[in-house]
Amino acid sequence: MLRFTVGALAVLGLIAALPLAVHNEYWFFAGYVVLQYIVLATAWNILGGYAGYVNFGTGAFFAVGAYTAVALYKAFALPLGLQILAGAAASGLLGFGVGMLTLRLRGIFFSIATIAVAIVLETVVLNWQYVGGAKGLPILRPAETPFFGNYTVWLFFVMALIALVAVGSARYVETSWIGRGLRAIRDNEGAAECSGVPTLKLKLGAATLSGALMGAAGAPYAQYLSFIEPTSSFSLNHAVNALAMPIIGGMGHWIGPVIGAVLLGTLQQVVTVTVSSEVNVLVVGVMLVVFVVAAPEGILGLVKRWKKASSK
């Protein structure tokens, strides 16, 4: 635990020092997206990779975080930190709610419910004029920027912080007895239950944590874009990415989603700029299918196999 905390602080320090070396704002703008996906992928993996329950509605949890932040900002001019906490709380509650509804049933019901929740909430937001409805709402960034002088850089730093919290939580869950319980649920839920594992409680906990982290990732979104509207917030891309990145990176270890997010996130930025955004989306879909079929343990799995083969 100590080693990780030291490492995390070092990374944070490095990120804080970046603006001294890098002056082009674009890097921070693009980097924010990659960091955001690290959070989403890590969060998805806590319920999906560790426990085996597939969430197709990442967009909903992300957007709930974003819109909660927007609503509170518009109503009370809440500072960013509180917006993030509120967004996390709202999405955590959503995760808990969906969990209560469906985690007693077979896994596929949970997955379908997440799609349902995404569409229902998107429809609700489309009709909610207070936050702009279908047209969207422009958001004014606060006039003052703490520390970095440039608001985009500040948001980048904040997202890096959230990413470290996400990865830290995932690591804690994974290495503790909680992680072992989740793995038992994934391997054989019936046997886990008879071995004393409180399956429903653990699943609900994982769903709530996963949702909360996704909400935290979504909260700064409006300030990042200076605008918020439903289609990009609820976008199916979030769902596909949050699912593809852990599968491609490797679902069994907390570093897998990070690898997947960095690789896929950067690839997407490149393709969107050079080719087109539709092709970019197609690339993700194809890579997902390829990895699911040929390399189910992701890049981590491939590395493991390669290491075993070369040590013979």
Binding site: G52, A116, I119, T123, D187, L236, V240, G285, V286, V289
Partner: protein
């Protein structure tokens, strides 16, 4: 079986009909002609799914779902790349005209679609209850081990069922584009409607599916006329969530 790509195949069927209609083929005929093509396609997809995923291992279920999700996504994006995001229509002799029933005017294409859909449902129902393969399909859902002992191969049965299901996508897709314009994002909407009907009806009941479909259709129309089009997509999913919470076995499920 986690076939979340089914609505994507449905939209694919609609677009295939559109392409054939461009060559002058009547859309209904196109749908029927496409059925064997889709059937074979379905067999192939299931064979691939089975040989890749139905092995031992703890996350095969997850991989299966993820696989079909990826396929659905690729189909959707593929359609966008080929046809664009705009809506497409077809034309036929029964599109555009209406039939009068006393005081009501019903668009003729709706009647055609309704009739064909009813016929398809009846045919499937008969198939499942009267033929050997049909009953084997129902049996495989209940007790695979027993079926194996009786000499039937569950894998072939499931593959056959998958083929039939995909073939119905061809005809259903044709009906879809006859009834109204189609765009590639429709499959998201239809995932909701399909699952809503299935969950509401409960697994295993064909007549239940019909009733559930009616309930959904009527509710959507009511919402459409009272609250407006912006609320309509949520109806199917809303009903789905309520059913899951209150009575997950559905109205007619065992």
């Amino acid at each position: 079986m986690p076939q979340v790509a089914h609505p994507a195949f449905l939209v694919m069927g609609a677009y295939a009909t559109y392409v054939l209609a461009g060559f002058g083929v009547d859309p209904l005929l196109a749908g029927l002609l496409l059925m064997p093509v889709f059937f074979v396609f379905g067999l192939g997809v299931y064979q691939f799914y089975y040989s890749t995923f139905e092995g031992r291992g703890s996350d095969q279920g997850l991989r299966g779902i993820a696989f079909f999700f990826g396929v659905a996504f690729i189909v959707q994006v593929g359609l966008i790349l080929v046809f664009g995001v705009d809506q497409q229509l077809v034309d036929a002799s029964y599109i555009g005209s209406s039939v009068e029933f006393g005081e009501m005017r019903v668009p003729e294409r709706m009647l055609v679609a309704f009739g064909v859909a009813l016929a398809l449902t009846a045919a499937l129902s008969l198939y499942l209850s009267r033929t050997f393969t049909g009953r084997a399909i129902k049996a495989v859902a209940q007790d695979e081990g027993a079926l194996r002992l009786m000499g039937a191969n569950p894998v072939r049965i499931k593959r056959w069922a998958f083929g039939i299901a995909t073939a119905t996508c061809a005809l259903a897709g044709a009906l879809l584009i006859i009834v109204g314009p189609v765009d590639p994002n429709l499959d998201r909407l239809y995932i909701g409607r399909t699952f809503c009907v299935v969950v509401l009806a409960g697994l295993g009941s064909m007549s239940g599916t019909l009733v559930a479909g009616l309930i959904l259709g009527v509710t959507e129309s009511i919402v459409l006329s009272t609250a407006g089009t912006s609320w309509a997509p949520a109806v199917a999913f809303g009903i789905l969530l309520v059913v899951l919470g209150v009575r997950p076995a559905g109205l007619f499920g065992r």
